[in-house]
């Protein structure tokens, strides 16, 4: 356990979470080793009180949980660093012995109240009826054992979805950082992008539809690093659908993450012919630091994705060309306006065979859905809904949706349009901005 840093004022949520976990773990650990009147406990007890009481006095609640392999503060996962990891283990070990995996602090504590808690903990920890500690009642401290069902829910419903958001954000920002380095003529640290891709691959397993939807969100539309991250994410899903091995899948996503990096040179008022030079500038920027096998593959992709499908076998370039075109149509850089997602997909479908490999287009359509995840649609019943999952290609107009507005007003219920007996279907897509619908919040709720 790392006793240092107790006196530092937290400046970020994660840092604060780690600090609270460490302080409480230290108190518990020492309580298992020493009598409560031992001087060794005085600083940690006071340190914990100094940390938690300002928050509790401000009306905040502090819930620390050790569930599965993770630790949470107020149901939000704590990213442990190397010092706090040991604290976490100690926290879990101490509480597990007494049959607890959640400690809640509900109001500012006096030292005597904390010592009383630690005293009882100590007694049960060393006693025969350790699990009886769960039945103890404290005025300002709550104890709980989160069962398997709730544990599964805790992990799956809230944190894994946030994990997907976080992983996509990390990827986009990692790409942005490397683009900055390359523009400045410095060598990029592409291992960071690779790590981010792996993180996204792990986080999105079982949440593919959510990832598709995330790439459609408006907030960062048109920014090149988000375009690259979106194409990389969509390529990840396509590659996974093809069953590509992890190394090949990673290389596909790395190539996608860098395929269009000179696009932000275009600017709002591009000159005629400037767009044609984007692949050239991308290739030169990619190769500026040398031509390893990986660099050559990415340079080839940067060129090929912008070319019509030719006689050569389909490679990464042709695979990436489809999500790239889709993303640019649906989320172009300003001042262009984007097409609605399903319209953008239709443009891509129309070019299957001429510009794109038709198999790649079908693969992409199967991944995102004919009404891509995140599209706001009008149902035949007049209701407004957000598409949650890609429909089977044979039932394009019948995806799984969340109804967000009915004739009566705002709504929030799920509807599987492909269910037997369900008569409603999608009739058209609509602009969520015009209807003032916050699509991300419906997808993540």
């Amino acid at each position: 356990m790392d006793p240092q840093g107790f006196d530092e004022a937290p400046v970020s949520g994660q840092q604060q979470a780690r600090m609270l976990l460490s302080k409480l773990a230290l108190c518990l650990k020492l309580a298992t080793m020493h009598r409560l009147d031992n001087a060794a406990l005085v600083p940690p007890i006071r340190g914990l009180l100094e940390a938690v009481n300002p928050l509790l006095s401000a009306g905040e609640q502090i819930q620390l949980q050790a569930v599965g392999e993770n630790f949470y503060l107020n149901r939000e996962i704590i990213k442990l660093d190397f010092g706090s990891y040991e604290s976490g283990l100690a926290f879990r070990t101490c509480l597990k012995r007494v049959g607890v995996n959640e400690v809640s602090l509900t109001a500012a504590l006096e030292e005597s109240e904390l010592r009383d808690f630690l005293g009882k903990f100590q007694a049960y920890y060393h006693g025969r009826e350790a699990k009886g500690f769960l039945k103890e009642r404290f005025a300002k401290i709550g104890l709980r054992w989160i069962g398997k069902a709730e544990e599964a829910g805790l992990g799956a419903e809230i944190d894994e979805r946030q994990n997907v958001v976080r992983s996509l954000a990390v990827l986009a920002l990692s790409i942005e950082a490397q683009l900055g380095l390359m523009k400045a003529g410095k060598p990029p640290r592409l291992s960071k992008v690779r790590r981010a891709i792996h993180g996204l691959a792990d986080a999105s397993t079982g949440h593919e539809a959510l990832l598709v939807g995330l790439t459609r969100f408006e907030a960062l539309s048109g920014q090149v690093h988000f375009h690259l991250a979106s194409v990389s994410a969509l390529s990840l899903l396509m590659g996974r659908r093809l069953g590509l091995s992890r190394p090949v899948l990673t290389e596909l996503c790395m190539a996608a993450a860098l395929h269009d990096l000179a696009r932000d040179d275009l600017g709002a008022q591009a000159d005629p012919g400037a767009a044609e030079r984007v692949p050239l500038k991308t290739v030169l920027r990619l190769c500026a630091g040398g031509t390893s096998a990986e660099v050559l593959e990415r340079a080839a992709v940067a060129f090929e994705h912008a070319q019509p499908k030719g006689p050569h076998p389909t490679g990464f370039g042709q695979l990436i060309a489809v999500p790239c075109a889709f993303d640019l149509l649906a989320s172009p850089p300003p001042p262009c306006k984007g097409l609605l997602p399903d319209h953008a997909l239709r443009v891509v479908l129309d070019q299957a065979g001429s510009r794109f490999d038709p198999r790649v287009v079908r693969l992409f359509a199967a991944v995102v859905g004919m009404y891509p995840v995140g599209t706001t649609v009008r149902l035949s019943s007049g209701e407004i809904a957000v598409v949650l999952e890609a429909a089977d290609p044979s039932q394009a107009a019948r995806p799984r949706v969340k109804v967000v507005r009915t004739a009566e007003g705002p709504a929030d219920f799920l509807l599987d349009l492909s269910a037997p007996g369900e008569k409603r279907s999608v009739v058209s897509s609509v602009d969520p901005g015009e209807l003032e619908i916050n699509v991300p919040q419906f997808l993540l709720a």
């Binding site: 970020s12 949520g13 660093d81 190397f82 040991e86 283990l89 954000a169 990390v170 986009a172 920002l173 640290r189 291992s191 960071k192 690779r194 790590r195 792996h198 969100f217 408006e218 907030a219 960062l220 048109g222 093809l242 992890r246 275009l266 591009a270 005629p272 400037a274 767009a275 984007v278 030169l284 190769c287 390893s292 990986e294 340079a299 080839a300 940067a302 090929e304 050569h312 389909t314 490679g315 149509l329 172009p332 850089p333 300003p334 001042p335 262009c336 984007g338 097409l339 609605l340 319209h343 443009v347 479908l349 198999r359 790649v360 693969l363 359509a365 290609p393 107009a397 602009d431 919040q441």
Partner: protein
């Protein structure tokens, strides 16, 4: 814990033993068995990763004193939190894990990889990592200001993605609105941004109510696609070459230079890896491109020539020439060199000394010969080359016929005897006679064999112009036995002013009676009347040695005869 000791044993063993060595295999099996024993209960085995040691159930295992001695430090630096082994772990997984671990310790994981990313991509069924995701770019700890700023930035992006900032459902960006159909004005903008080039037909299709029916990808189609992707990856050099060629037409002169540098770097990488087949294939691909469209022959050839000029880089040439010494690769390396433009022959000649083996040098000279080099370049080269290189140049010169004479002549002044002899090798007597003016100087060559061959040549031609060279030779002290006498006789036969002057000098300075006598007779042979004053004292002296007196008398007699006949030199 025993596992850590076994891990260390394997890692150290990988330094000492080659892959497949029985001792190393034994270490790996033992490690696998040790881990398997821990997994026998059916529970997973989780090792925590701390800076100086692994931990088990929170307790450090054999912590090291220094980071470089720590088994876990590499994983720790890579952000790995925990290493978890599951029941069913196979020996192959352990072997692969240790190979990656060893490579990571040696810094051989690849420029864009880390230990953790290699492990992820290895996709072990019974081993998983838990990593601490550190988004901070280059910061030493998450408490640094830069790290905090980046964490805040991340939270901001997540907030945007999650729609937290969408007041009333619309963001500033979303306020741009969406298009439900593309208008002509929008078409222009989309085209300018390189996003889409849509037509009126495309616009009409947007209004169609029907959605196209579409099947997903079948398993066979997916497999075929994957095979094509893999085949495409194997063709990466050809694809990059196509990209460079196509992009050259869009590039400014400065950008074209960069593209050429990319191409040069590609060729250099292939040469360093000894992938001469791929090199040759790439160059053939370029040539095929150049010939592909008869209507654009000139433009394409110019483009290809500019790219192939990358071969002339000294760095690349050095690597290629070093390949000529490898018997297995020499032919292929030479085939690549033959793509050089003739103007590159000077660069090649500068590097003649690079191949270390006779075969390598021979291959190089064949390449140079195929480029039809200017003989003047060969002259320059032979004059300053080491003997083994000069010999190769002469071998090349021999193949050039008449044009090869200049380098041969230059080689006659080389410091190496072998080179000087080789300079005349293979030439017929008639050819030598035709070139004898260039050989006069060589008559005084330090090598007696060479001197003798040239001497015979000059005498057979009775070329008086050889006399100065022979006279010069007469002045040397290191003549072999009988040579001086032969020279005297030769000078006498040749005659002429210079021969006579040399003979007179020799007669005056010569102490040996036999040679002095020979000199006297030579003077007479040459018809040198001016020699009389030199000869008469010896002819009339009572105390002169017999042979010398006789010789001088004889010489005088001959001179009298010549004078009477109106011949001889006076």
């Amino acid at each position: 814990m025993e596992i850590c000791a076994q891990l260390r044993k394997v890692l150290d063993g990988m330094r000492l033993y080659a892959k497949g060595h029985v001792t190393l295999d034994g270490f790996l099996k033992t490690l696998h068995q040790t881990i398997a024993a821990e997994l026998a209960s059916g529970e997973e085995l989780a090792l925590g990763v701390a800076p100086l040691s692994f931990t088990f159930q929170g307790k450090p295992i054999s912590p090291a004193e220094k980071a470089e001695d720590s088994l876990s430090h590499l994983l720790f630096l890579d952000g790995v939190h925990r290493l978890t082994f599951s029941p069913g772990l196979e020996l192959l997984e352990v072997v692969r894990l240790m190979e990656i671990w060893r490579a990571a310790q040696d810094g051989r994981v690849g420029a864009t990889q880390t230990f953790a990313t290699r492990l992820w991509e290895a996709d072990f069924p019974h081993l998983r990592l838990l990593s601490v995701e550190t988004f901070s770019e280059g910061s030493a700890s998450e408490e640094s200001e830069g790290a905090r700023a980046q964490e805040d930035q991340l939270r901001s992006v997540m907030s945007e993605l999650s729609g937290d900032r969408l007041a009333g459902g619309s963001s500033a960006e979303a306020a741009r609105g969406k298009l439900t159909r593309v208008t002509q004005e929008d078409l222009k903008l989309l085209k300018l941004q390189g996003i889409a080039e849509l037509t009126a037909e495309d616009l009409r299709r947007q209004d169609a109510a029907q959605r196209p029916a579409m099947a997903g990808l079948s398993a066979e189609e997916a497999q075929a696609l994957v095979r094509e992707i893999q085949a495409g990856q194997a063709r990466v050099i050809e694809r990059v070459t196509d990209a460079v060629v196509a992009l050259s037409s869009l590039a400014s002169p400065e950008e074209n230079e960069k593209l050429q540098e990319v191409f040069r770097s590609l060729l250099l990488g292939l040469a360093r890896a000894r992938r001469y087949g791929d090199l040759q294939g790439t160059l053939n691909h370029l040539v095929a491109f150049a010939r592909g469209d008869p209507t654009q022959l000139e433009t394409r050839f110019r483009l290809v020539a500019r790219l192939i000029k990358a071969l002339e880089s000294v760095e690349l040439l050095k690597v290629l020439l070093s390949g000529l010494d490898d018997p297995a690769q020499a032919e292929a390396a030479a085939a690549v060199l033959r793509f050089l433009h003739p103007s590159a022959v000077g660069a090649l000649l500068e590097l003649l000394s690079l191949p270390q083996t006779p075969t390598g040098r021979r291959q190089l000279m064949e390449v140079v010969a195929s480029l039809k080099p200017d003989p003047a370049l060969l002259v320059e080269r032979v004059e300053r080359s080491a003997p083994e290189v000069a010999l190769e140049v002469l071998r090349l010169a021999a193949s050039l016929g008449e044009a090869g004479w200049a380098p041969r002549r230059a080689a006659l002044a080389h410091s190496s005897l072998e080179v000087r002899r080789a300079a005349l090798a293979g030439l017929t007597r008639e050819q030598l006679l035709a070139r004898r003016e260039d050989l006069y100087q060589s008559a005084a060559d330090p090598d007696p064999e060479l001197r003798r061959s040239l001497f015979q040549l000059f005498m057979s031609a009775k070329d008086r112009r050889a006399a100065p060279a022979l006279a010069t030779l007469l002045g040397r002290e290191d003549l072999v036995e009988g040579e001086r006498k032969r020279l005297l006789v030769a000078l006498g036969q040749l005659g002429g002013e210079e021969a006579c002057a040399a003979l007179r000098r020799e007669f005056s300075g010569q102490k040996e009676v036999e040679l002095k006598a020979a000199c006297a007779l030579a003077l007479a042979q040459a018809g040198d009347q001016e020699a009389r004053p030199l000869l008469q004292p010896f002819a009339g002296k009572l105390l002169s040695f017999g042979p010398l007196k006789q010789a001088c008398a004889e010489a005088l007699k001959r001179l009298d005869g010549l004078q009477a006949a109106g011949k001889g030199r006076s």
